[in-house]
Symmetry: C2
Subunit: 380 residues, 2 copies
């Protein structure tokens, strides 16, 4: 692919080119209204960045935490197991539901060897954090390559009209490191010169679509239109969408897809209008121990403030306004589960499969041998 795709452009996190002691991230609290780089130079900075949502998105949180472990060791005179275990435990408390966070700190711990010198451990830590970052990039790159033919096939059919894609929330590089998951096939298609137009769901209550996905697509020069979450059904009914591409926070063995609240409604509309609905996900987000996502995935309830108020730009600052009557109750479910029957396919780093036990088995046979639940119930 071209320069853009392989460049360090449009990454959410990097090591400062001049200084290994500075990790630079895009400060996502202010997007799209202010574009600022936030420099992380310590364990405490890392904790702050994760807690205050300077960085968000499971893969990016994992990578940030890995670099945080490295910075802790770098700044710390001591280099015993206790001190790195402390750093891991401290970071693990920053966003208690983020699996990638625990996986990243655990992986860093496993790299540490008390028998080595502090300098040697530091070098190993740096390399491991860089590796975790590169693995995230490479996994999203593969999702882009694997998903591209879906867009190409639509383009073959309808050219010269642009391919119309609808996406929900932000499953872009701001949540990952580069390319993103649901957005990766879009970036690859755009790079190949296929004309696209993306419908971006606003994604209340936190508006990650209107704020982050729209910002990303704008940077890349991909034509896009922001719509209220309510509008997706209407535009699908009127054949204004060729393909729905969403991310996934967690996918079960059966192909049920947990993703940002509202995804299920868009999958229903896609199904009702014979429009393909794909979830793009790294296989690390498949939960090999779960079958029925609707019954078994617990849905996080988030702060009522996210619904009762809204953040926006007043021309000078980001501020917030109250939206509801004083005495009205609010509930704020973080995600929903789209049943596999509504999912046309899963786009993973190993290829596309049907959203079913059989489909997932074909791409990831080793997982079915490793996992007791998968083995016991599957037709392996």
């Amino acid at each position: 692919m071209s320069e853009y795709i392989n460049s360090e452009k449009d990454c959410s996190i990097r090591v400062s080119p001049g200084d290994r002691g500075i990790i630079e991230v895009i400060d996502q609290r202010y997007l799209p209204f202010k574009q600022e780089v936030f420099s992380i130079t310590s364990l405490e900075d890392t904790f702050f960045a994760i807690t205050e949502m300077v960085v968000r998105g499971a893969p990016l949180i994992g990578v940030t935490a890995a670099f945080g472990m490295y910075l802790a060791l770098r700044n710390n005179g001591q280099s015993n197991l206790n001190s790195v275990e402390y750093a891991a435990a401290y970071l693990n408390a920053s966003r208690p539901t983020a699996v990638n966070l625990f996986l990243a700190t655990q992986r860093m711990l496993e790299v540490f060897d008390e028998k080595r010198s502090r300098e040697e451990n530091l070098e190993h830590f740096f390399r491991e954090a860089v590796l975790i970052r590169e693995e995230e990039i490479s996994s999203c790159r593969r999702i882009g390559e694997v998903g591209l033919p879906l867009i190409e096939a639509i383009w073959q059919q309808k050219q010269p009209e642009p391919v119309q894609i609808l996406t929900h929330c932000n499953a872009g590089w701001l949540a990952c490191v580069k390319y993103g998951t649901a957005t990766a096939p879009m970036y690859f298609a755009h790079e190949k010169g296929i004309p696209l137009h993306v419908w971006v769901d606003e994604t209340r209550p936190r508006n990650q679509g209107a704020r982050l996905t729209a910002y990303e697509l704008g940077l890349a020069g991909i034509p896009h239109t922001i719509i209220p979450d309510n509008a997706g059904g209407h535009i699908m009914q009127h054949k204004m969408v060729d393909l729905v591409l969403a991310g996934s926070d967690r996918t079960t063995l059966n192909g049920d897809v947990a993703n940002k609240i509202g995804t299920y409604l868009k999958a229903l509309a896609a199904f009702d209008n014979h429009i393909p609905f794909y979830a793009a996900l790294p296989s690390t987000s498949i939960d090999w121990a779960l079958e029925d996502g609707i019954r078994n995935i617990p849905v996080e309830e988030r702060s009522q403030e996210e619904v009762a108020t809204i953040e926006g730009w007043d021309g000078t600052n980001i501020t917030s306004l109250r939206l509801i009557p004083e005495n009205s109750a609010v509930r704020n479910f973080g995600f929903d589960v789209t049943p596999a029957r509504l999912v046309t396919g899963l786009i993973t780093e190993r290829g596309i499969c049907s959203a079913s036990r059989e489909g997932i088995l074909q791409l990831f046979p080793e997982k079915f041998n490793q996992n007791p639940l998968a083995k016991a119930n599957g037709n392996v």
Copy 2:
């Protein structure tokens, strides 16, 4: 029914008790943050109230316009046909898509008789405006009485658990005069002592659910919870909804229901989870000349500002914030069409019928004889 139901409490418009020259409306621009009465005393006030959305909702706009015609005559020394025709034309330009507006001004014009004295015409105008208001109230009261048994039946099944209803946008008395359409059965059930809980969709972009429906239900003491528009699918999937009640801006002969954008998505989720979905509507909103709502109802596109920005309360004032990147495009479809196959039934002032030509025919046989399209294609 009791005092509340038959009182003048919770009406959106009334003649000032002390002065026939003052029409009092609730100023809906500031709800729920400020509760203010706006006094209309002239044709110009009426135009302002409609244009600036002091009043909104098709039935309320019609009633307001009728009183505006009366006020024009009252304030005007002249009492010839020209002057009242001028008033009608002037008001008709205030909200060009509101059918009820044209019907109301037309009806007032028909009452005018140049042979009568100015005082006689004024009295006729006053009575006609009061009558139009009373007809709106009575139509909504009937919808409440007709819809009540649906809620009673659910209550019989699940008591002592409260009946869980989901509603979208504002089809309440703030859009009508009293009771509302979708809300009328709720008010009647609440008055009868049936425990209810109502899920109120926020209803972006204008947030009529979070601002108006929540306010109405709060005043009546009906327990309710505001949710983002994205959440309805999830709560239906988890059996937290027994009944969906929506309004309708326009219903076709076939039973297709045009309503606020996002209604179709909720109807899909209700259908997928075997939850009844009813549209409540006065028969005046049935379009006897249309069959296929998806093909034939033109969908209004509204201002991009409604999506790009949001209004809320900063603690002192109502103000607005920008929500999206500077260069992102926006589209803002005003409503969508829910196909009849997803609609369990229509709640009208004459009774409940299936959302089909046959169902509508049974309740309104005379309309099928009057209307060439209905007659030509129907099995009358």
